[in-house]
Structure formats: structure tokens, C-alpha cells
Amino acid sequence: MLHEEDEDDKHTSEIVLENKAIAVKKVHISGLNRTKADFVINEIKPLFNSTTFLEAYTKAILCKERLLAKGVFKQVGVIIDTIDPQKGDDTENIQVVFKAKEKNVVVGEVKTEMSNSEKPRWVMRILSPNIWGRGETLSASVSHTLSSHTQKHIYEPTDFQFALNKPYGKGNIQATMFKEMQHCLWSSYNETTRGIAVGTTFPLLGNNHEISWNCNWRELMASRSSAFAVRQQMGHSLKSSINHTLVVDRSDDYILPSSGFYFKMHEELAGLGGDVRFVKEFIECHLATTLFKRITVSLGINCGLKLPLGKDTKQHINDNFFIGGPLTLRGFEVNSVGKQEAGSYLGSTAFWVLGGHVYTPLPFYWSRFGHGSWLDNFRIHGFLNAGNLIDLDVKKTAKSNVTNALTDIRFTCGLGLVYRFMRSARLELNFCFPIRAAKTDKVCDGIQFGIGVSSI
């Protein structure tokens, strides 16, 4: 590539390539078997505007990255070569050849990943990454969430998902069909969700938006130990909802940011068909800053609110908010805070959780911190969590609701070790001291281990 060029030139004379005026006359992509040309042509167009060799070189590398980002190529090689100049033309003419290698027609994978319920699961997936030549992905996967309370064997899948994904411009259109089982031990019921979803993600003014329509058939099944308050909500319901998510991400990392802020808001309007009607709002916000290149201070808030729509509409326990757990309100068992009946937690219609952290590198590692070693992923942190569940009452004044939100606040503080695993999950081992808890809460005094993606 560049080296070849260098060597070629050495034979004749020393030429400074950097500022040499050139014109890109030809760009060629080889290896497009199934991929349609119009799908990749926009990605390589900027090359033609190059005027110097250096510019052409950096643009070629950029184009290579963009081609790889399309997700249809296994690898892309770049060759920059000269072509014979035409008569009466002073500038050097060059051509750029991209040697692309497409992914296989069908790709399979088996892996473990984190599920929504913060439990690991194994996933077996078959996908076709480029089905009609324009980056359309069709995938089918089966998975099993590892939990001790399933009646099925570990090798029997409990969930499945079919998904079709089509890129357009800078956005994406997805259609999915899925079945998912969840064991809500904190409320002692099981939920099976079957659903379809159609949505699109697109960037707008530098932020990511997602708009989708979800139609979920939810089947709630009581277990032997279900309290009656939970049992009387069992049965089938159909939720048809419009969802919007806005993500403003100005941080350098989602799991362990050292600076910047992250803001996410999610709105859900349920009630377009189906028998579940509510409006739901969820906000997640993180702020982080690093002092003395070593000590990171971060602050986060999560809050959410659900309002029923219409009079006497049936509200379901699985739409409620729950707080508590090793990565949110530490020092409490998972989702075991607030109202309960016979050990089954009932959740609430509004909540807020605050988290403040001070992260430092591992002791005896301060001098070597930040040089890219795997030990950089470890931090010691001190944290303070506060939170509350509120049963919002629209009929009362805003003031009484706010007072309600500020009474019986749960507090925890503690110390612990954080590990960022492969930049995709977060492991925490904490020693928690719950400072204030209600009688109904399940407190975890002492060591608590957590694994998951999002945290506060």
C-alpha cells in the first residue's frame, strides 16, 4: 500500500509524497458478489475530492472504516496505485482499489450475554448479514436465561427471536418477533411475553432517536407462593404501545466513563388497541468528571413515572417500577423495596434513584494507571445511593406528591470493587451499609455482588 508506493518511488528519486498534487481518477471495489454497488458507492465518493496524496491516503483509510461499518464485509484491503497520466496533465493520476471480502451467506454464533433481567443467558443465533445485497440482516436466535427457577433444562431454549434489520441512510429499520420468559422472583410470578415490534433508529442533530411500535401479549402466571395481591393480577393482557427513546451520549464510555455526560429518556404510550392504557416516562442521566487524571467523580439519577389513561383501566404489576439491586439502589435485594404482601413486592407507579460515586484506580497501581493495561478496567469506588418509590396520586396536589416522594427515602453507602468486562458489562463487588430502609424492604447488609450493563 503506502509502503509499496514508497518503494516504487525509491527507484526513481526521492519524492515527498505528502504534498504531492494528485487526482483520483478511479476507485474500484473488488469482491462485491451479493452486495449491490449503490449500497457502498456513497461511502467511497469522498475519495474523488482528494488533491494531495496524504489526503487521498487518509480518506482511503476512512472509507475502509466506513465500508467495514456497513457490517457486510469480513475485511477490506486498500491499494493505492498510479495510472498513466493523460496528455497535457501535470498532476499524478492515481487509482484506489478496495479489496473487499464479503461475510458468509449464513453466520452462526453461540455466546453468553446479559439479559434484560440482569441475568446471564446463552444465545444461539443464525444470521444472514446481507440478504438482499443492501445490508439487510435476517437473524433467528434462541436463548435460555440462566435462573434456578426454570423447570426447563439448561440446554432447552426458553426464548426466541426473529429479527429483520434494514439500514437506510444513517438509520435503521427493524422488525422483530419474539417470545421471552421472565421469572420475577421478587413478586413471585412468571411472565411470558410474545410480541412483534417495528421500529426505526436514526441520528438527529447528533443524538440518537428510536421510535417503535410494540405489540406484546403478556401472560402472567402465578407461582405457589404468590400473594393474593399478585395473584389477582394474573392472566392475559395485550399491550400495544408507541415508544420513543432519545439518547444524548457525550461520554467517553458507557460502563465506566471518565468524563462527559449521558442522557436517555424513554416515553411509552400504551393504549392504541389492546387493553393496557398508560403513559410512561423514564429518564436516565449520568455525569462524570476526572480530577488529577486519576480520581473520577460521577453522579447519576434515574427516575420514572407511569400515569394510567382513562378511568378504571386495569393496571398490571409488570408495568410497575421496582427499585433495589446491586447495580441500582445498592444494599437492597433485587427489586425488593417498597410495598409488599406476603413477600411479593408490588412495585409502584413512580420512583427515583440517585447515585454518587468516587472512583480511584487500584491501590499500588496509581503510577501505572491509564497505560492501557487490563488492570485499568478495575476501580475502587465509594458510593452513596438514595431512592424512593412513590405511588403517584393525580388527584392530590403536586406538593403532597413531592412530600410523599421525599418521605421514607432509602439511603445506602458503601465501598467496593468495579470491573469493566470487555467494555460491555459491569461487575461489582460491594460492601454495603444500608443507612435507612423501611420495614418492608429486603436489606442486603454486607457483601453484595452485581453484574449487568446499566448502573447508577
Binding site: A222, F228, R231, Q232, Q233, M234, G235, L238, G273, D275
Partner: protein, 313 residues
Amino acid sequence: MCPQTITFYSNKCSKSSSCLDLHIGNYRIYTSELIRQKVCCTFCVGMTLLQDAVLGQMAASETWPDDAALFKPDQENQILINENAASLAVQAFLRMCDLNIKVEGRSNAEFMSPSGKLPVLLCGKFVISEPIPIFQFVQQKGITLSEDLSENDQQDMKAYIQLINNTLIPAELFIMWLHRDTLKQVTWKRYGHPYPWPLNHILCFRKRHSTISYLNAIGWGTNNQSLTTIDEEVRNCCAALSQKLADKKYFFGSKPTELDAMVYGHLYTIITTSLPDNRLAKTIQQFGNLVAFCQNIDRDFFANCNENSEVDS
């Protein structure tokens, strides 16, 4: 007649009754075969022996709470014959025992039930479903209608209750889920009533599927039975009941028992429900003493509260 110590173990995942195991000592027999042979015995689905014992201990210590409630599907738009029959039998039984109960219609009553069957009784901390377990539960509280009966009569009573379970319930299920006109005009609309489209059709389809596999397992599928043969079975059952009742007020003399509650629940429901094919009702109406018996119980136990029970639901 089998002894009383037989208990059925129900598999939670079971869709058809062939998964139900019957334990008698060290022997294990599949129920479907058993029911086919029409062996009469008491049973209690959804409760194991151990649970039974624990429940008995705990239940006995508490008195009947004021807020006890009975849940059944919505009376107006949803309830099906077999569900109504079971609910009415339990209501009649509780009234015969002079126990206060609040009857509530819930569209998801079926899913509140631990066994998936109706009705559902909430009594203090206990949630019990289906008539026979409810009878046993009340008995464990020391309230019973059949304690005065002789050993022989008690066995008789159990046998007749079993006859109802083995004849009238499958007959009701057959007409609701396998008779084309009833299915189309009544069952499909009523069972799917609380749900929005397309859930109503999906759930009806699922329920029909599981009911058919149950009926096939006990030999009451369309292969073996038609409405005519069902009618014949019901006639035989009614003939047996009519003969037992003769001209007495109740089946075992002057005091009502669990059997009276069961017979009333089923027969009254079948007589008073109008279906596209009213053959079963007509068959029952041929037995004058049974019809009079139903009217009797209706007058004695439901006369002053009829309005209440209607309003409740």
C-alpha cells in the same frame, strides 16, 4: 369403591389428564385409564398429600373470616356452563354450611386459580380452587354437611359426586367446545369476551385445544362421542340420581350434603341456560323429581339472596 386415601398428583405442565398420576400405595395408575374404567374415588387436583396435611393443620386453627370471597368469571358476559356449574355448587355448599361469602366476578378468575380451574375461594391466607378441594378445606375447619352420614352413605355420596365429575362435566365441556353451533354462537364469544382482538381468538383457540386433548384423554372426544351419545350418558346419570333421590327432599334424607350442592350446581345451570341445542336441558327436564329438587334448593338457599348474587357478579 376405592378408599379415601387416594390422592392425585397433578403435574403443573400437564395439558391433558394423562399426566395425572394416581398413587395407591406403591402402585401408579394413569388417570385417563382410570376414568375410562369409571372407577369412583375421591380426588383433589393440585394438592399433594403433604400440602394437604399442612393446610389441614393451619386451616383448622382459623375461624371463617368475614372477608372470604369467591371469584368466578364475569356472570353476564363471560362465564361458561361448566364454570358456572362449579361456582354455583360451591355457592350452594357455602350457603348450606351457613358461611358468609362475597361472590365477585373477575375476568381473569381462571388465571387466579392455583389449578387453573374454577371457582377460586379466598379464605384468609388460603386460595383454593375447584369444588372438591373447597369442600375438603371447609371440612378441615370442622364444618361439614356429611358427618352424620353412615360410612356407607359417605362412600355412596363420593361415588355419586364422582359420577357427576365423570359424566356431567365432560358433557358440559363437550357441548361448549366440540358442538359446532354452541362453540360458534356462545363459547367463542363468551370465552374471548374480556380480551381485545386478536387475543380473544388466540386464547379461545388455546383453550379449545387443551379441552379437546382432555376430552380425548378421557375418551369423550369426537371419535367416540357425539351429542346423541352424550345425551344418552347424561340421561343415564340423571336416571341414577333420580333413582337415588326418589321422593326425598335431599339425597340423604332431610339434610343437604355436598352431593346436593354439586347436583344443584350442575343441573340448575344446564336447565336455566339456553343454548343453540337445548337437548341436555330437555333430557334433564324429563326427570321431574330432579327439577323439583333444584327449585327446592333455589328457593331454600337462594331466595332471599338472589338479587345479591346477581348484583355481585
